[in-house]
């Protein structure tokens, strides 16, 4: 079966059920209203995602970090040609996909953020034109598969999908292994700060050696020559494409990792028919991704909101906050969506925060506090996040001054998944 037959009465009914349940859920204030309706629709029509995706141009975005942002960037690039359907609330499993597909216009293109574990199934149900593979690293180990197993499952699924244009990170050995049997791959040098999950060779269990630019194992498994490279060293970040073109990559979003995400989105957009320059201009304007990277007022304190939910995410984020003196509030939860074991805090180089005003907060502020203690980072613990932000601002005094000037009351808030979402909801 190459694609599902068009929607029949049962599928139409399931789609209507999905949207109306979600509408009721939102009206009752039970949440953002995307998952519950999708579940109801999938009960009536288990093949709802396949039926609603049939015949439409679909792109998928998956990986441990950067999924939501890259999805948003790709949506912006495709939106230049008209409306785009997407699961913008980050509900990235089949119920969320069904809800997004049922709610949107039946003809317009679709961009879905996909949970890593569901990528094989979603490739099979949606027959995408393009898929972006960002990175794979440890995350929520109490409930997800080992990342190496995940890379193997991606590899099988992509081998069985010869028509999809794969955009894959050439710097991540697990992603390269996953894309290794795909028919059409554009390799993007998107970078990889966190390498601790990429030491063992996925091909032979041998050891991968890293050199400045590349990596290789003695068995022959090595970094493919990238088709697209982000040259981010100078003042003028540049995307270098396989055809020789060099384009400036200047974004409203901060950080090298976001410029790399943008390049992947541009390449996928090109595969979906959007001209490169058009896509680049569109991604440059994206400034807000579900609250990430935005600056808001929290109880009168100018606060930049940042998300980091695992060691790899933190390693990338440190490139953004390094060398700054801004007070930092770190919020850690360990609810189901975060993973219930915060042991990973000891895989994060919190030593980088030494010398700054640091306040630990969140459900698991105590675990973070012990980690900071062993990192020899002076800090305070304030369990409630908004109060923690106020405390961080109060601890910041201009030298010799009598009170903090507005710009000196700026605080960076870095939360993991639910800690971040909770604060965004309050602002």
């Amino acid at each position: 079966m190459t694609s599902a037959p068009p929607a029949g009465p049962r599928v139409s009914a399931a789609a209507r059920l999905t949207t109306s349940v979600n509408r009721v859920s939102r009206r009752l204030g039970l949440g953002s209203g995307t998952v519950i309706g999708g579940r109801a629709g999938l009960k009536v029509a288990p093949d709802l995602v396949a039926r609603l995706a049939a015949g439409r141009p679909v792109a998928l975005v998956s990986g441990t970090n950067g999924k939501t942002t890259t999805t948003r960037l790709l949506v912006a690039a495709l939106a230049e040609a008209g409306p785009v359907v997407t699961n913008a609330t980050g509900s990235n499993m089949p119920a969320g996909h069904a809800a997004a597909l049922a709610a949107g216009d039946r003809d317009c293109p679709v961009v879905l953020e996909v949970d890593e574990g569901y990528l094989p199934a979603t490739l099979a149900t949606t027959h995408p034109q393009a898929v972006i593979l960002l990175n794979l690293s440890r995350d929520q180990l109490d409930r997800t598969n080992e990342v190496r197993m995940l890379a193997g499952r991606w590899r099988e699924a992509l081998a069985a999908a010869p028509d999809v244009a794969v955009v894959a990170n050439a710097d991540d050995p697990l992603v390269v292994w996953a894309a290794g049997r795909a028919a059409r791959v554009t390799w993007v040098s998107a970078g990889l700060r966190w390498r601790s999950d990429a030491v063992g060779c996925p091909a032979c269990e041998g050891r991968i050696e890293w050199r400045d630019e590349g990596w290789a194992c003695a068995c022959g498994f090595a970094r493919p020559r990238p088709d697209v490279v982000l040259d981010d060293d100078g003042d003028d970040p540049t995307g270098c494409f396989a055809d020789g073109e060099r384009c400036t990559v200047r974004l409203a979003l901060p950080g090298r990792f976001n410029r790399a995400n943008a390049l992947s989105a541009v390449v996928a957009a090109e595969a979906m028919g959007v001209p490169r320059q058009t896509a680049l201009e569109a991604v440059a304007e994206v400034a807000d991704v579900a609250g990430r990277f935005t600056t808001v007022e929290v109880g009168g304190v100018t606060t930049r909101l940042l998300l980091a939910k695992n060691p790899a995410g933190w390693a990338e984020l440190f490139t953004l906050v390094a060398g700054e003196t801004t007070p930092v509030v770190v919020a850690i939860n360990a609810r189901v969506a975060d993973g219930k074991d915060p042991s990973w805090l000891f895989d994060v180089a919190f030593e980088e925060l030494a010398g700054r005003v640091v306040v630990a907060t969140g459900d698991r502020a105590r675990d973070l506090s012990v980690r900071l203690h062993y990192a020899e980072v002076d800090h305070e613990t304030v369990l409630e996040p908004v109060a923690a932000i106020a405390r961080a601002a109060a601890l910041t005094r201009p030298p010799g001054g009598n009170g903090a000037a507005p710009d000196e009351r700026h605080v960076d808030f870095i939360g993991n998944y639910t800690a971040f979402a909770d604060l965004v909801r309050q602002t």
């Binding site: 180990l141 074991d341 990973w344 000891f346 062993y374 613990t381």
Partner: protein, 255 residues
């Protein structure tokens, strides 16, 4: 290098056995020694180099494939076994605990040879995996006049460990699954080798265990107290939460 008299703490194969933040145990041990004025050398012993001699070895958790490679690496050289014969202290967690036992299963369930520092064999357990908070009361360990305070941690393993006669269980479970054979036990101890399923990392949540290992390695009777108010706050919270969920489990069991 910090001189020949420095306490050497080796984190064994962090490139293979570093999945669950257990590298923190090596950091915690070296900080707690340093803060008391003992010179310390913390070594990250990668799997492609010869294992260095050390006073204290820490092994952490890891995925199935790397676990097999780590065991092969440790069996290929006599360093760890000899160090233990000469009094070195070992803290082995999760996959590391299974490796220092006599045997453990690989991804296919095939029996693999362990280093044999602990008289314990691990086999594939019945699903589901043991995942969740653990609370356990330690047995009295060598060199201690009274048992350590309650252990708290987080377990995440598929293996089931059967203890032999040559080891003592580290602790009796209050909450969690632990070894499963005999039921109700967690971890194992033989001499100065300690195995446990607890992450957290285990020494972050149980500083008294860290100090016991340090006292063994430094060959001292006791250690000066440290300001542990961060750890105590964490312990208070975790013990409280775990006891609450235990009461909940008991209530559900009755109804």
């Amino acid at each position: 290098m910090s001189g020949p008299s420095a306490l050497r703490v080796a984190v064994v194969y962090p490139d293979l056995l570093g999945t669950y933040g257990d590298g923190g145990n090596g950091l915690i041990l070296s900080r707690r020694a340093q803060w008391r004025g003992y010179p310390v050398e913390l070594v990250q012993a990668l799997s492609d180099e010869a294992l260095p001699t050390a006073d204290l070895y820490c092994l952490g958790g890891g995925e199935d494939g790397p676990q097999v490679r780590a065991a092969e690496g440790l069996l290929a050289e006599p360093t760890l076994t000899r160090a233990v014969e000469h009094g070195a202290v070992v803290l082995a967690v999760c996959a590391g605990y299974q490796i220092v036992g006599r045997s453990f299963p690989d991804a296919d369930g095939t029996r693999r040879e362990g280093v044999g520092l602990l008289d314990a064999d691990t086999v594939k357990g019945a699903p589901p995996r043991a995942v969740g908070e653990v609370l356990a009361e330690p047995t009295r360990l060598p060199g201690t006049s009274e048992p350590l305070p309650t252990l708290t941690g987080f377990e995440n393993h598929a293996g089931r460990t059967r203890l032999g006669e040559g080891v003592t269980p580290l602790a009796r479970l209050v909450l969690g699954r632990g070894n499963e054979s005999p039921a109700g036990t967690e971890g194992a101890v033989a001499g100065r080798v300690v195995g446990t399923y607890l992450h957290g990392p285990v020494l972050a949540r149980n500083p008294a265990l860290a100090d016991l290992l340090l006292a063994w390695a430094l060959a001292v009777d006791g250690l000066a107290p440290l300001d542990d108010h961060w750890e105590e706050a964490l312990r208070y919270e975790r013990l409280h939460m775990a006891r609450r969920s235990r009461r909940l489990v008991a209530r559900l069991g009755r109804s």
